[in-house]
Symmetry: C2
Amino acid sequence: MNEDVGDAAQTTSPVAIDGASPYGAGALFQILRDGRHRTRAELAAETGLARSTVTQRVDALLMSNLIGPADKGASTGGRPPTRFAFNRAARIVLAADIGATHVRAAVTDLTGGILAEAREEIAVEAGPEKVLGWVDTAGRELIAEAGRTLDDLLGVGVGLPGPVEHSTGRPVNPPIMPGWDGFDVQGYLHERFHAIVLADNDVNIMALGEHFTRWREAPHLMFIKVATGIGCGLISDHRLHRGAQGAAGDLGHIQLPRGSDVPCRCGNTGCLEAVASGAAIAAQLRESGIEARSSRDVVAWARSGSVQALQLIRQAGRDLGDVLAAAVSLFNPSVIVIGGSLAQAGDHLIAGVREAVYRRSLPLATQHLRIVRAETDDRDGIVGAAVMVIDHALSAAQVDKLVTPPR
Amino acid sequence: MNEDVGDAAQTTSPVAIDGASPYGAGALFQILRDGRHRTRAELAAETGLARSTVTQRVDALLMSNLIGPADKGASTGGRPPTRFAFNRAARIVLAADIGATHVRAAVTDLTGGILAEAREEIAVEAGPEKVLGWVDTAGRELIAEAGRTLDDLLGVGVGLPGPVEHSTGRPVNPPIMPGWDGFDVQGYLHERFHAIVLADNDVNIMALGEHFTRWREAPHLMFIKVATGIGCGLISDHRLHRGAQGAAGDLGHIQLPRGSDVPCRCGNTGCLEAVASGAAIAAQLRESGIEARSSRDVVAWARSGSVQALQLIRQAGRDLGDVLAAAVSLFNPSVIVIGGSLAQAGDHLIAGVREAVYRRSLPLATQHLRIVRAETDDRDGIVGAAVMVIDHALSAAQVDKLVTPPR
């Protein structure tokens, strides 16, 4: 069969290998990320790598501090430490979750554990200089509060309340973010923090945060945010599905099956967001003579027992459910998590969603489907922004670049 | 920082590692799959593996025949061969694409290259024993025709025209497949071929085939089949997105935005399939007194220039486009490939699709979106079924199991 050897095209789909050597220090680090302690000899046995190779890679990882000696007191004697494990305190991450009306920032360790956090009422409309300026100042304070320095910073993760081109971190025609269109968020923060900066829309980072925090066993998850607008983050096979332009999950401008001639700010009519968002419900309340300017007001009315507010939220849930029924047929998730301020108005929204999804989807796709409310502690965005940075910066390829080769 | 070392939870999403050692023979084989020739020394240098480890793994792969000596004449002397490469002729794959009215079977090499093929008119309604019986008989003949034996068989891939639970290979309530519900396709074929059997619905394997054959550079692709029914296969980040129950891509029963009270065989009304499938258009033609029993008849009328048939196909394209506009907002693909018999009726279907998608989707998602017709050579299903088996059976984990450890 020699004539057939060697001229074969690659048979698998060309999954990006991300430039990492499958046998480099970064790859060895991935093994150690499970937190178990290992000796050099165990690593050599486990991998088949030459002892000299293991020693070299372990030394590089030790110098980077990404792994540390795991033996009690081993570092006090003259003998080199013999067992190693992932050091989650090796670096810190600065995470910022920018919402329509407020900003959160936090410093986390390398497992997304929050070390210090802050929150400020700033409207995103105030513009990038004002909002990111606060992230700059608060970020430095939080790093100090955590007892660390800028040298420890692995990277900065930012969530923004509008479409973001993930590869460049620039907002793209963000409807509620005047002054942000095309703004170089990465450049602005990189100049100040001298570290990797990653930005994505708030819904994607909330999806990452929910998946990481509560649904790690669910391979396919949809996170829906219903607030001033409506958006969705998709997890496919445990990974964020961003789509070709990073525009995946744009649920708000899908046309409602029930038909509607309500004009939408996107220029079309009958979009989901035009009838079922917090802003749309507030407008409907105003038409009934009830004072409501924002989704927060809608939630307040619902909590005070306003029948009109509750009915409108229930109907918004049904409309959302009609669109989600199509999304369920297409994407077949195992979990749908409903978050955003409107989800905090009790169970009316989610009851409407369930009603429509279970009525309209095929039995196979809904037999094990769970539709749940997001936990209300509101940290999904922060945790997701941190996880986005950690997953990227601790990948094999990035660790290969990070580690200093031993002299 | 010793107190923080070693108790870290895993920070990344738990992507299934599939049981493979990242340093085993299977992992080494993945490097060689690019087709380049390498010596043992080059492999040791490239990987950092101990020379003894490389020799052991290369010997195992040589014994399995998955790699072969690449030096001209090196195998004739007494000296062991020094350079190795992927041997695409090492094994063969039997692929079967079962349609509503006919079955295709082919034998391929390990790059999906077709070595022998056959086609037979058998209705899937004839039942699993009849249809799979033909696959059994024809498969043996094709293997012989390719000059190979059952011992060479890596696995069998099967596409079926209905929902399939991928993990078990069993059809689940398949609407046009009486007698197939829950039938053990894997068991039936495994008993006859004694090899891995994988089954999936025809649309998923066509998506795999299109992606593999013509769109390997497109990370996110939607393949739409419009024939008797309507279905969709999703490629996310170069991989098939099957969803939680393997039910992803069930486009046919999404509710039309324009509203429709046409009853669907699923029990709901206004499903896409009830108005825009080949069967639905045939019914609409009959209502106008035009004889049409199947999507094939619809295509025949369109090709003969029937204005009514062309108008109905164009409208079907618009209806499909309205549903795809929502799918584009959700999934943000870079390519939509339209296939199935109705796509062969000229450009009317795809013109309607484009019209609706570009009218209804947001600019960001459509600025680089390509909507194209599937190539008509009709081999997507066969190639996809083969690729499904190859991607699975030549993965690092499966190769680890496949290779015989050297004595």
